[in-house]
């Protein structure tokens, strides 16, 4: 029997060894994967009542702050968003049952003070129990954001403003928005009810449309088509001169593609961009062919997720499966067919033209500060894509300035500033006709690199004329750019 007992001992020892190995797997090897698992909301639960850093805008307006609760409350702190709906889609919310969103999500570790930079600033911190949390300063400006909100009013739409030189986002506003305070409140029933109500709202107020929803870009996409022509060497400032036409019949079909309002247009690149000539740009796309169009769209960032530091950004789409379907390619060249873009992506298109063809990685983070106000992290601007060469970008930049000076984007003009732009009207094919009114543009002091680029989208406007973008969206974009230029001038 003794031999068996010895073996039993070895067997049980082996069993416990297996347990020890498995325990190492769960607590150490797989730990990070388990902590990051989407079903795991332990970190939110833990952080919910913990000290949490403040979020301020570039102009030092407090947009998220943790405040102590009255004596006897269930939790020690409550998260408050003093600006209400103004930054709901960017700062987001931090709640127990409905997770976290926006900056509250992407910079959760920093706000909770869990990064190494914040935890151990000095040897003393090992022995002194301090509440180390990080404060986040955004690149977004509350003053510009308010202008965007005031200008868009209660029309569904999006406003994006970005510094083309650095990729710093200056405004990200879309309406409808919501008040994050109720979602982050301690009355979980009310928070849940509010969340359900917002989720069931057909206008999707919870969705950050500026970077998470795609729309037909319409004629604003002609900037990308023009870039494709320039980069392929097929188009220059002077040539070719597209024939004056009322309609263009792409190969393989008899269905003509017409200009807005049945007008006749044609001429050089500058001329066709000024009047947003459908026939000319459709022909340009067909002449170039599929590959150069796809390559250029992707050089601007299409078909990829932009590296913005906000949760779940949407990728913009330029089709890659034309398979010699030239009518579809012709339509894509003027931003129709299956082309779709986020307002953020269209702002990046304008910004790239203004920044010598460089697409900077968009960001909302200016810096992280510790509780003594010392900066522990301020990321450098990163180049994300090279959309086009510097000389070609300059040609396109001047062409877009022409659109403001002599074309459809006259309403974008700001006295004393160099302003370029491109309008767009994406027809929704409804009856009565409705369309998305677009404008993209950039502005800066004459002779200097543009210091702001914008994209404005007003959804579902009545009518479908090419004027819609210039009339509806341009005033909003101009006001936002003026606000940025004023703020930049004041700040030096």
């Amino acid at each position: 029997m003794n031999r068996q007992i010895g073996r039993l001992g070895l067997g049980l020892m082996a069993c416990f060894l297996v347990l020890f190995v498995q325990l190492n797997r769960v607590t150490v090897l797989d730990a990070q994967r388990l902590k990051d698992h989407p079903q795991n909301n332990r970190s939110i639960l833990r952080d919910f009542d913990a000290p949490r850093g403040t979020v301020v805008t570039a102009d030092e307006v407090v947009v998220a702050i943790s405040e102590p609760t009255p004596e006897g409350s269930r939790f020690e702190r409550t998260r408050r968003y003093p600006e209400g709906d103004l930054f709901a889609h960017t700062v987001g919310w931090f709640s127990l049952n409905n997770g976290a969103s926006g900056v509250e999500d992407t910079y959760n570790a920093e706000l909770a003070g869990r990064t190494l930079d914040l935890s151990f600033r000095s040897l003393d911190d090992l022995f002194v129990d301090r509440e180390r949390v990080g404060d986040v300063r955004l690149t977004l400006r509350a003053d510009v954001q308010r202008i965007a909100r005031d200008q868009l009013r209660d029309r569904q739409g999006s406003v994006v403003a970005i510094d083309p030189r650095t990729g710093e986002l200056l405004a990200l506003w879309s309406w409808p928005s919501f008040d994050p305070n109720v979602l982050a409140g301690h009355d979980f029933r009310a928070a849940n009810d509010a969340y359900q109500l917002l989720q069931s709202d057909g206008r999707k107020p919870l969705l950050a449309k500026t970077y998470r929803e795609r729309f037909f870009p319409g004629s604003t996409f002609k900037v990308v088509t023009a870039a494709a022509g320039l980069e392929a060497g097929a188009v220059t400032e002077q040539s070719p001169s597209y024939p004056a036409a009322r309609e263009y019949v792409p190969p393989q079909t008899t269905r003509p593609l017409r200009n807005f309002g049945g007008s006749t247009c044609g001429g050089s690149l500058f001329e066709i961009l000024q009047v947003s000539c459908n026939t000319a740009f459709a022909q340009m796309a067909v002449d170039l062919g599929e590959a150069p169009m796809v390559e250029r769209a992707e050089a601007f960032g299409f078909n990829d997720v932009p590296p913005v530091d906000l949760p779940d950004p949407a990728r913009s789409v330029f089709p890659t499966d034309f398979d010699q379907n030239l009518p579809a390619l012709a339509q894509s060249g003027i931003g129709q067919n299956d082309v779709s873009a986020t307002p953020l992506q269209m702002a990046l298109v304008a910004a790239a033209v203004a920044n010598e063809g460089r697409v900077m990685a968009p960001t909302v983070l200016a810096e992280i500060r510790d509780d003594e106000g010392e900066v522990v992290d301020d990321p450098d601007p990163q180049e994300w894509r090279r959309a086009m060469s510097g000389p070609n970008a300059d040609v396109l930049r001047r062409a877009m300035i022409g659109v403001v000076e002599r074309g459809t984007a006259r309403n974008l003009a700001i006295p004393g500033m160099e302003v370029g732009g491109k309008t767009g009207t994406a027809q929704l094919g409804t009856d009565p006709p409705r369309s998305h009114a677009w404008i993209i543009g950039f502005a800066g002091p004459p002779g200097q690199p543009a210091s702001v680029a914008v994209a404005v989208l007003v959804e579902g406007q009545q009518g479908a004329s090419e004027q819609t973008g210039g009339q509806v969206a341009a005033p909003i974009a101009r006001a936002v750019m003026e606000a940025v230029l004023t703020a930049q001038g004041a700040g030096g």
Partner: protein, 434 residues
């Protein structure tokens, strides 16, 4: 020599009590940043109970092994601290902790009573068939109307007035005694091989009856009471004891085959068995539902990491049944890999001590009984820790001495007393050994 064993025991008991009190103080610090005001009385009570048990051993089994009692006391103490800590987040704060304290006292009482009543382990051998009847009766008890209760889907409880009790916990020990007695009687016959099928040398079929009976009982427990853990435990216990008694590996093969057959049968026939296996293989699709417990336990262990969050600084109360079956996950979260490994080591040391008692036992019956009781302890710990860490499909059994639960705690103290009794008997026969 004998004095040395008891001195070692007392010293270890003091260390164990100090560790328990230290953990209790840390739990207070973690909770509200101050050492609990009752830390000194707490240490006094812990020490008092264990010293009472120690004095009983000194009087009643002076030559018994000296490390089992301190290890049990340590596990019991750590478990109690965690129950207090977990209980604080419940609505009726302190209820479970209070009950567990009472059950611990009852357990120590049962420990002393067992040592008092059973003076020679061989006395047990004589009543083996009485124990067999008693064991089967205890197993069947929860199936009776009126007193039987189904709690959390398992019909393993009986209810007497305000008290709920799991008679299966007692049945395990009683049946281990019966098995030991029966096998000692029949081991010669069972070891003979009279015919062979393929590579298997089999004994006379009529001697195979008992193993088939044990298999049937295990299956019965599983199907009628839906208690997979206990079913597995019974079967392993019997096969291991049969193997030790006869020295025939054939029985392990037969046992393994029968186990696989039973498992396959259960998997195809019972949805609750199939669910357990599927949750074990991939809990994520049902993470908010049937797999919630195991997924939360994984998250808890991952949160704990190497050093743990610290007692009362984690969030183990998110795991359902954390005070009973899943207490090991709470220990893993708050004491980390290090603390969890310490618990594993404590069980391994108990297993080692138990098997040493088996090796030195003076009679075949004692050897078998000690090995059986040790198997019960070790395999039960393995089954539940394995379930929590997803090494095995989850079957709900308690972690001996650590989990909340009166029946389990009291009967584990009885098991401990039996091991010490065997140890004491053999040491007297052999004279002083260590």
């Amino acid at each position: 020599m004998i004095v040395l064993r008891r001195r070692t025991e007392l010293g270890l008991i003091v260390v164990g009590a100090l560790i328990t009190a230290g953990a209790y103080a840390l739990a207070g610090l973690g909770r509200d940043a101050e050492i609990p005001a009752n830390i000194v009385p707490f240490l006094g009570v812990v020490l008092g109970m264990l010293v009472a048990a120690h004095v009983a051993v000194r009087r009643l089994a002076p030559d018994a092994d000296g490390i089992l009692l301190p290890l049990a006391g340590l596990l019991n103490g750590i478990g109690y601290v965690f129950i207090v800590r977990l209980d604080e987040s419940q609505a009726d704060t302190g209820r479970l902790a209070g009950l567990q304290a009472v059950w611990t006292a009852v357990g120590i009482g049962a420990f002393i009573a067992t040592l008092l009543v059973i003076r020679r382990s061989r006395d047990l051998e004589r009543y083996r068939y009485t124990f067999a009847a008693l064991g089967l009766g205890l197993l069947a008890l929860p199936l009776l109307p009126v007193i039987g209760r189904t709690i959390n889907g398992s019909r393993i409880w009986i209810s007497l007035g305000p008290l709920n009790f799991q008679p299966g916990e007692a049945a395990k020990i009683v049946l281990a005694i019966f098995f030991a007695g029966y096998l000692v009687e029949r081991r010669e016959l069972l070891a003979l091989s009279t015919f062979r099928i393929g590579p298997l040398h089999l004994p006379d079929p009529k001697h195979l009856g008992p193993i088939l009976l044990a298999w049937a009982v295990s299956l019965g427990v599983m199907t009628l009471q839906r208690d997979l853990g206990s079913s597995l435990l019974f079967f392993v216990l019997f096969v291991v004891m049969l193997w030790i008694a006869t020295g025939r590996t054939t029985y392990l093969t037969i046992g393994g085959t029968l186990f696989l057959a039973g498992a396959a049968f259960a998997y195809t026939q019972f949805s609750h068995v199939r669910d357990r296996v599927e949750i074990w293989l991939d809990p994520w699709p049902v993470a908010q539902d049937a797999g919630y417990q195991i997924v939360e336990a994984s998250f808890a262990l991952a949160d704990g990491g190497i050093a743990g969050t610290g007692i009362a600084l984690g969030t183990p109360t998110r795991i359902p049944e954390v005070e009973t079956d899943f207490i090991f996950a709470a220990i893993g979260e708050e004491l980390g890999l290090l603390g969890a490994t310490a618990v594993l080591c404590a069980f391994l040391l108990m297993v080692g001590a138990g098997l040493r008692i088996a090796l030195r036992a003076e009679s075949a019956f004692d050897t078998l009984l000690a090995a059986g009781l040790t198997t019960l302890l070790g395999v039960q710990a393995f089954i539940i820790i394995g379930g929590i860490t997803r090494t095995l499909p989850l079957t709900g059994v308690t972690l001996p001495f650590v989990s909340y639960g009166g029946s389990s705690l009291v009967l584990n103290y009885v098991l401990l007393a039996l091991l010490l009794r065997i140890s004491d008997n053999s040491a007297r026969t052999h004279g002083a050994t260590t």
